[in-house]
């Protein structure tokens, strides 16, 4: 029996697969940008990829980076979880990226990795969803949390006549921004809308299928539900899709934060009356310019600093090292065709 040729052949088989694998990946010896030479690399790390909201915001970032002649990179995990984000932050630190723009899945969990990156020379800008202030250099917020929460509550209350049961379909259970808004919504409801009862908060994890199924479950377990607030673009799109095919269409009001492109059909067919958002593209654009200002040393990220943000003009840094984009905007059937994102 030819033992040795069997083993040698096993060796050869594995070696062959290795050769195939290695030749397939990274045949280019580009070895570009081991550390930056001139061009500033800006990496965008959203909560997860495959999310139209972040596709738009990252597009804005890309435009900005191209304007100031930097290098743009977009990375992110499949699911919106903090431990998946940590690996990308680690990679950014390894690559010596100059600026990292991140929307955090958790206010604390990614903090250590961020600080490690900052120690390695990376400037960290959070946008959309913040971490605790000690982990980042600057936070670019779309609007004040109070303003967002109030707009949601106002919309639902006017759609259900200020009385009845409502529920919230959120993103992931730890998301900093949604949790901040939900807390403020609860306070607002208690203080100003005594006849509206918040019966449930469910989490769709920013996953379309989960949000779809959770909406169905909500309607099944709360037969008297009058309204659903979904402060996440993935959630409201999935909920709208479910509602528009069900016998609750028009009977259960749906509002929240959505993108015009995803919601257009449902506004037109009567499932949704109105919803709010800001322009995510502007948000990404502003975040990229803020990162550039930090890297160039124009600002330190402290309150009172001001910097130029391309076509958006000049922006000032507010308390807590935060920059505000503006106020939320309400979309409805009258104006929805004017927007293309």
């Amino acid at each position: 029996m030819k033992f040795h040729s069997k083993r040698a052949s096993a060796f050869a088989a594995l070696g062959l697969s290795a050769a195939l694998v290695l030749s397939a990946c990274g045949g280019s010896d580009s070895a570009s940008g081991s550390s930056d030479d001139g061009a500033m690399t800006v990496t965008f790390l959203p909560k997860n990829l495959g999310n139209p909201y972040f596709d738009t915001s990252d597009k804005g970032g890309k435009t900005a980076v191209a304007e100031f002649k930097g290098k743009f990179q977009e990375v992110g995990p499949q699911e919106a979880s903090p431990d998946a984000q940590v690996q990308y932050i680690n990679t950014a630190a390894q690559q010596g990226i100059k600026a990292l723009v991140v929307s955090a899945n958790d206010p604390k969990a990614i903090g250590d990795a961020l600080n490690q990156a900052r120690d390695a020379g990376t400037k960290v800008v959070t946008f959309d969803s913040d971490t605790e202030p000690q982990y980042r250099d600057l936070f670019v917020n779309q609007a004040s949390a109070e303003g967002i929460a109030k707009s949601q509550v106002d919309l639902i209350s006017e759609q259900i006549g200020d009385a009845g049961e409502v529920a919230v379909l959120s993103a992931s259970a730890n998301a900093t921004n949604q949790n901040a808004w939900i807390d403020l919504m609860k306070k607002d409801l208690e203080a100003n809308h005594p006849n509206i009862k918040l019966v449930d908060v469910v989490y769709g994890d920013d996953d379309d299928q989960t949000s779809f199924d959770k909406t169905a479950a909500l309607l099944q377990s709360h037969p008297n539900l009058k309204g659903i607030i979904s402060p996440t673009t993935v959630g409201i799109a999935a909920a709208a899709r479910y509602l528009s095919d069900s016998d609750k269409k028009g009977k259960v009001a749906l509002t929240g934060l959505g993108t015009p492109n995803q919601m257009r059909e449902y506004v037109k067919n009567g499932t949704v009356t109105s919803f709010a958002l800001w322009n995510p593209e502007d948000l990404g654009y502003l975040a990229a310019y803020a990162a550039k200002a930090l890297v160039d040393g124009d600002i330190k990220g402290e309150e009172g600093d001001s910097f130029e943000a391309g076509k958006l003009g000049e922006y000032k840094v507010g308390p807590d090292n935060t920059v505000l984009l503006g106020d939320p905007f309400v979309f409805d059937a009258k104006n929805i065709d004017q927007f293309k994102f």
Binding site: G50, G76, Q78, D207, A216, Q220, A238, D245, S246
Partner: protein, 358 residues
């Protein structure tokens, strides 16, 4: 050659013994009834009805609103298709862990076909999805049948490979509902005589496969292969062909499930179907198919799938937060396996008793 006249009639007082050693003594009706009632499938049906009843008592709209009725029938259809295919594979003493990835791939393919080739008739897209599934399943089948490698390892590998292909192909793109023709999406909610179309498809598949396994020679041979693969080879059965068919069927049904997924949810991301393969195996095991092959039916697997999905919906109504759903499923699987073992041991003991008494 019956010698019942000589044997003391102990079997009179032991209908079970009678059923085991001389079934023809009982009337066909009684025998048929006893078989059905004692079957695993019946007990699962009972559990299913109990769960639905409990939930409906708590919240009548669980069953009695038109939406809920439609949802109850619609949501299990995907898992049902997967469970049927998985049952056939497990009966042959193999397992197919790649069905989740096949589902994701075909669901995404469905969306892409609608986008890239406008005007393609819906039926063509469905056929394409099934064919791709069959192809992917055949890859598994060839490697298992000809490579003599355990299916667990091969399908674990293809689970990774197919999922990687979807992820790379899709990148961060998603198929959105407005990318697909309205007619296709309507399939997701249209009903035929108050039974959703997608459920009808799943049930038709179930009946066809069940009939095949029960009556066709190929079907019976699957059981033989699962009971004792070596004996099957010695007996001259074409094991390779049956295995190829089993995996092709599992892949094809996963492909169909992918098309159904696209119709039902409208949005397909590259993560579609992740983890559903273990749910399919769980449904099959709960349904009474032995993991070592050779026994069980697709009816049981189908009921297991429906039970799993319905429990998920019923739990929050029964006051158990749906966080605990996975634990309940796990407990069900373990109980099912333990029950199988206990029953098998009891059966063996009874047969030995019967033999000793006669």
């Amino acid at each position: 050659m019956s010698d019942t006249s000589m044997r003391p009639d102990k079997t009179e007082s032991h209908p079970e013994l009678e059923r085991l050693i001389e079934p023809s003594r009982q009337t066909p009706l009684r025998r048929g009834l006893m078989t059905v009632v004692r079957s695993r499938e019946f007990s699962i049906l009972l559990v299913l009805l109990a769960v639905i009843a409990a939930a409906t008592v708590k919240t009548p709209s669980f069953l009695f609103s038109s939406n809920s009725w439609r949802d109850l029938l619609l949501t299990p259809s995907i898992l049902l298709l997967l469970a049927v295919g998985q049952a056939v594979v497990i009966i042959t003493r193999n397992v197919d862990l790649s069905v989740g990835s096949i589902l994701g791939l075909t669901a995404y393919l469905t969306g892409r076909l609608f986008i890239d080739v406008p005007g393609l008739p819906i039926i063509a897209v469905m056929v394409a999805g099934i064919l791709v599934g069959v192809l992917l399943g055949l890859v598994n089948g060839v490697l298992v049948a000809f490579g003599k490698v355990p299916a667990l390892v091969i399908t674990l590998g293809t689970l990774y490979i197919y999922r990687g292909i979807v992820l790379t192909w899709a990148g961060s793109n998603r198929i959105n509902a407005d990318d697909m023709p309205a007619g296709f999406l309507r399939l997701g909610t249209k009903s035929l005589l108050s039974v959703p179309v997608l459920t009808v498809i799943a049930l038709v598949v179930l009946v066809i496969v069940g009939y095949y396994l029960h009556t066709a020679r190929g079907g019976r041979e699957m059981y033989a292969i699962g009971s004792d693969p070596d004996a099957a080879v010695l007996y001259g059965l074409n094991v390779r062909r049956r295995l190829l068919f089993a995996f092709a069927l599992s892949g094809g049904l996963a492909g169909l499930a992918g098309v159904v997924y696209a119709a039902r949810y409208g949005t397909v991301s590259s993560g579609a179907g992740t983890g559903i393969e273990l749910q399919a195996v769980a449904a099959v095991v709960i349904g009474g198919v032995a993991i070592f092959g050779g026994s069980g039916t697709v009816w049981g697997a189908a009921l297991g799938a429906i039970l799993l999905v319905t429990i998920n919906r019923a739990l929050p109504i029964l006051g158990i937060p749906d966080f605990w759903q996975r634990a309940v499923v796990g407990a069900l699987i373990i109980s099912a396996i333990v029950l199988d073992r206990v029953l098998a041991a009891r059966q063996a003991r009874k047969l030995t008793e019967a033999r000793d008494e006669s």
